[in-house]
Symmetry: C2
Amino acid sequence: MADETTPIAVEAGAVPPSQRRGGYPEPFATRGTGRVRRQLGDAFGLTNFGVNLTRLPAGGASALRHAHTREGEFIYILEGEPVLVTNAGETLLRPGMCAGFKAGSGNAHHLINRTRHDVVYLEVIYPDDDLGRAIAPDGSRLFVHNDGRPY
Amino acid sequence: MADETTPIAVEAGAVPPSQRRGGYPEPFATRGTGRVRRQLGDAFGLTNFGVNLTRLPAGGASALRHAHTREGEFIYILEGEPVLVTNAGETLLRPGMCAGFKAGSGNAHHLINRTRHDVVYLEVIYPDDDLGRAIAPDGSRLFVHNDGRPY
């Protein structure tokens, strides 16, 4: 059964931002500049995949350009016009556009906000292979090997 | 490497609607009324989890009320004001609100559109346990046991 404290629904923008920069262990650490990420799935106990509401301020970037060998990722633009940088070059995105990155595809990517307005997007992250999620004693989310060992 | 035909990004609303009612095998078959679902993840070869852009017309429902024993699900409202029906009763949702349903929680749920305007939402579906995804020879997506046997 669902925990009695699990909400039925929440305002995504009212979920407290994550205090950690993505919670990734090295070598998955991200180094976003000014990025604010709200871990929406956590509010409902969804620990097998991550759903984040992420805001990039003017001049911000989602992370250093990176390729996922162990995660699939999907993004959906809600507000603003970021530039998606991939192996193929730059693509301007608008609200209602989406992009996906299959685990192991080797397609390095990141989002840059070159505008003077915030960019807001949903990102879905699906850990593959030997990357699982666990909840630490302090309630924070961390990545673990599939056998539960921490990175 | 990513298939060369994989797009970098797409307009979510321009992805052709699925011709099948969700692609679920029995007993997972859904019986939505008027629901139009666009399988966004498929455009990028993301077969391990599903991301759908779903439109419910006035008077439509997402499915019969159901609980997932084998899937986690997350929804994010983009347009309109559907009613989320769960074990706890009815909750009115607005754009920017989200809800999540952990696999095995036993919390039966569905969305109903009682308004005169369309409801549009993103849904993320994560198969757990013995429910995997495969691509059929005709290109359609289907659910399989983890060992690849079809349902």
